[in-house]
Symmetry: C2
Subunit: 212 residues, 2 copies
């Protein structure tokens, strides 16, 4: 099937949003933990976290426009400049998904969705105890995208917590052992199965693909 | 295991890069197809493609600094303002990986890695015939990130091509049927297995997680 943008924009609204939301491929499922200045914790699932650089170690995250709805995660990051990124794994998919429900003011998603808060000394944002891969970050910069009023929040990694068998000798995280999951669109969760570790790509060591 | 950034920065260079590169979780594997003004095609694997918005339909992509090395993909996008994003699937993992090798000038990665070019009338950038999910985009804006000299290229979707059984009734792409793959770091490829489709999250319809 082929469509032009014009044809896509004429589709049923939800179908259109679902196609556009899932067309880029798999997205990482992460829980963002924050705390307001007054001490209230917040936890929210995001699929917009992306690697931005290794030196310094920067991670980016896209936020939707904050015009109409209150964005507690973004407000808390602005207030305290600290936040955590925690991988969603196989065992906590449903709990994680429901952090996106609209809880009453004063109810933390940690409590509402059955997660335990975990802390590192000298760092105020809450980690998710049930997660096996966790990152603590400080806000480095907000980049407003005028094109569509989204905001890219760039954070610098301050702390990394990795559970036992998830880190390989060479520094790679084994996403099968960490049981980390991916998301397509907003609602479809996928488990990850390692297929292949390939070497750094050199022309001299390349298989002959032309012969296929 | 817990590390602070200070401890991470003291690690062996490659181990450090691998940890930072894989810590955000799964990334989508996509082939970017471009053509120079003089007609030479180029194909390169990227894991930095991300959803930016549905209306208008924008897709972002992070490019590393273009100081030292020539970035043919970015040069071609600047010249022609057109490019394609093509999902890597199970059958073309190795071919796709080797598009990152340094080919001699004048050798297209389409040829070198055994891919067939596919075209849509009125659109100059090449699609990858072997891919099941393909997007044709026009350059909307380049956003320079001064923090670390990376560049975010924002494209607007112009064409979408989806093979037979990959699109669900509601508009979701079934990444298991499309056999799309994910990447951890630079070299580890993962296949995707659908675990769960969850409904839009409403507090009233939520399971009782506290009782666990």
């Amino acid at each position: 099937m082929k469509w032009t943008t014009e044809e896509i924009m004429k589709m049923d609204k939800f179908k259109r949003i679902n196609i556009i939301n899932s067309i880029t491929g798999i997205k990482p499922a992460n829980l963002i933990g924050t705390r307001s200045r007054s001490g209230a914790t917040n936890l929210a699932i995001f699929t917009s976290v992306f690697h931005m650089g290794s030196k310094p170690p920067f991670i980016g995250m896209l936020f939707r426009p904050d015009k109409d709805v209150r964005r507690h995660t973004l407000e808390n990051i602005r207030e305290t400049r600290q936040y955590t990124i925690n991988h969603v794994n196989d065992q906590i998919i449903e709990q994680s998904h429901y952090t996106s429900a609209k809880f009453d003011a004063g109810v933390s998603e940690f409590e509402g969705c059955g997660f335990k808060e975990e802390y590192i000394e000298g760092f105020s944002a809450p980690f998710v105890q049930e997660s096996k891969i966790k990152i603590g970050l400080t806000l480095e910069e907000e980049i407003p995208i005028s094109l569509n009023d989204t905001i890219i929040v760039v954070g610098q990694i301050e702390h990394i917590i990795i559970e036992g068998n998830c880190l390989m000798e060479n520094g790679y995280i084994d996403l099968e052992n960490s049981q980390s999951v991916g998301v397509s669109g907003l609602n479809s969760y996928y488990s990850l199965n390692k297929k292949k570790d390939l070497p750094y790509a050199r022309v001299e060591e390349m298989p002959d693909f032309k012969a296929r």
